[in-house]
Amino acid sequence: TQLLEQSPQFLSIQEGENLTVYCNSSSVFSSLQWYRQEPGEGPVLLVTVVTGGEVKKLKRLTFQFGDARKDSSLHITAAQPGDTGLYLCAGFLFGNEKLTFGTGTRLTIIP
């Protein structure tokens, strides 16, 4: 059973469109991170959210941590080909020091 479920698993959209990726769990997390991974490389951290309801913005990317700390979303405005990649959410459960990764969303932006 996967602790963190991401949806959709695959997403292909046109340049300029908006999109949202979801990361859901039935468990409560003390914090949650979003990583982006490009082919042939390791994941790179985009953001960490630590407070329920927290919203963080990174240029055209908006990250939100759910009020109950069980879910998160990543919204991209006006997607660009450079946004193409595998997006991974990862969280720390309360009382557990290990980072748990979601299944990933593979995003393709078509020029």
Partner: protein, 114 residues
């Protein structure tokens, strides 16, 4: 060059052979991790280390052995490789292991067991 490196980047081995994947970081980070990445499973923790000579099991440790005699190196050994160990392996490091700290990942080793 500074950072975290892995070698080899690609490896093909036969079932039953021993193979060692190398990981080296130049930041003097205390914490180091080994993950495997498989379709449908995301990244799963194999082993981690809090400091030299301190290691502990992660989610999927069976069939793997680690050592950490020096802070900068954290090799992962498959004692007798099996086809189910075909995967992409990532090494990561972190200065601290608290819940908001970033893990820095290496470029990965793609291992195929035939």
């Amino acid at each position: 060059d500074a950072g975290i490196t892995q070698s080899p980047r690609y490896k093909i081995t036969e079932t039953g052979r021993q193979v060692t994947l190398m990981c080296h970081q130049t930041w003097s980070h205390s914490y180091m991790f080994w993950y495997r990445q498989d379709l449908g499973h995301g990244l799963r923790l194999i082993y981690y280390s809090a400091a030299a000579d301190i290691t502990d099991k992660g989610e999927v440790p069976d069939g793997y052995v680690v050592s950490r005699s020096k802070t900068e190196n954290f090799p992962l050994t498959l004692e007798s490789a099996t086809r189910s160990q075909t995967s992409v392996y990532f090494c990561a490091s972190s200065a601290r292991w608290v819940t908001s700290y970033e893990q820095y990942f290496g470029p990965g080793t793609r291992l195929t067991v035939t």
